[in-house]
Symmetry: C2
Subunit: 230 residues, 2 copies
DNA sequence: TAGTGGTCTAGACCACTCA
DNA sequence: GAGTGGTCTAGACCACTAT
């Protein structure tokens, strides 16, 4: 009797949408109708339809019914790479080298970002991430030491700041920005590439409950690609 | 009595996870226990926990119980930009100019990608997307005309190939790859930038039920950023 | 005002897997 | 074998909103 699962109904509905059985922007039968058609409870159909709605394929409104989405907003979901795992996933040996590790007053842009009062210092870190001892990515990071003072005692030579933070403040929220930039002299030498090379950069700021933790920028060696599916 | 919604429970559980009430990798009380604690049905707790599992914050196993995720895989979700909307979202006027529109035999790499038999032609399109009449992005695309022959009669001067395809084959699946490249001469002149500039590129291949529809590469003008949240 | 989706409940059975 | 999550059901009430 597992044939009437919400999964199968979701699949069936997806097929009917793809086949064009219901026009773009058109109305889909009500939950109760579909339930009797599929011979199951309304709750089961509801669950299938909610999944489709979450995937952006249909739009649902009370009393308005369920409609096939006109302009399906393509959503890509992907995992923010964790460097160590990324490197190990293709069989490399991960390592990192700390270039800078100093408490100092952050520049205004960073201070604003982390909401640090003027005059207060923050931890500035520069790290080169290695794959098989060769530079893989370069990271520049500021940590709000008022939020996580323990980091000053962390063995950052053994565990990367990123991993330490993930283990200490695992469930923070964050913003991510992807962009492409030309490598300047500093970045080029850090990751061993030529000045001007196109670099894939990820900016990330994370906080926990209104308290800003850290902001970082990661520069990947040229040729880096971020994959996803939709 | 709306206070015992699965939303509120999800929120409450999230808070308890963030506060460290349950250790990383630690066990969370069983659904039945939580249900009696919150004074609701097990189904309600189940829904909340499933949402947290989908968000990657907990891992659930039958008999094994629910555990706080050790290394939360940060998932970013975003909407694949639709150029017209992207341009209009910052108040620009969208337009596009077709540079190439020809049926021809695709190079081997594309042929493999679209699974087109040797010798068969495909539609090759080059489009410059404009914001306020200025180049915004450059698109290179191949369309499998065996899958969507109607595109040969589409008014591509009025509607961009992308929009036409979305309206015609709206519910396709696809792969997306983001990368950074240096602009070559052709791209630089197409989007009005300097050769060597760092360009944000998006590759995208879409298909419907094992039938390949199109593959495209989009080059954004320098300075482009893709934002997300996690 | 009537119809539709959103949600909760109480109970049930099953599938998985840990011990 | 026993405990846990996965899921379906049948019924109920509510919230929203199109008409």
């Amino acid at each position: 009797m597992t044939s009437i699962s919400h999964h199968s109904i979701r699949q069936s509905l997806l097929g009917r949408i793809q086949s064009g059985e219901w026009a773009l922007g058109g109305l889909i039968p009500a939950e109760t109708d579909l339930a009797s058609e599929y011979g199951c409870a309304r709750g089961t159909v509801n669950r299938a339809l909610q999944a489709l709605a979450e995937a952006g394929l249909v739009v649902r409104k009370r009393k308005g019914g369920t409609r096939v989405c006109q302009m399906p907003v393509r959503q890509a979901k992907f995992e923010i790479p964790v460097l160590r795992e990324q490197v190990e996933s293709f069989g490399g040996i991960y390592g990192h080298r700390i270039i800078a590790n100093k408490l100092k007053t952050p520049p205004p842009s960073i201070r604003t970002h982390l909401r640090i009062p003027g005059g207060v210092k923050a931890l500035h870190l520069q790290t080169v991430h290695l794959a098989d001892d060769k530079p893989y990515a370069f990271e520049e990071r500021w940590v709000n030491t008022q939020a996580v003072p323990e980091i000053l005692n962390a063995p950052l030579d053994k565990i990367s700041a990123n991993e330490w933070l993930v283990k200490t403040v695992p469930f923070s929220s964050g913003d991510v920005v992807f962009s492409a930039i030309n490598a300047d002299k500093k970045i080029a030498s850090a990751i061993g590439t030529d000045e001007g090379a196109a670099i894939f950069a990820i900016d990330r700021t994370t906080w926990l409950e209104d308290e800003f933790i850290t902001t970082m920028r990661l520069y990947y060696k040229e040729g880096f690609q971020l994959h996803s599916h939709l």
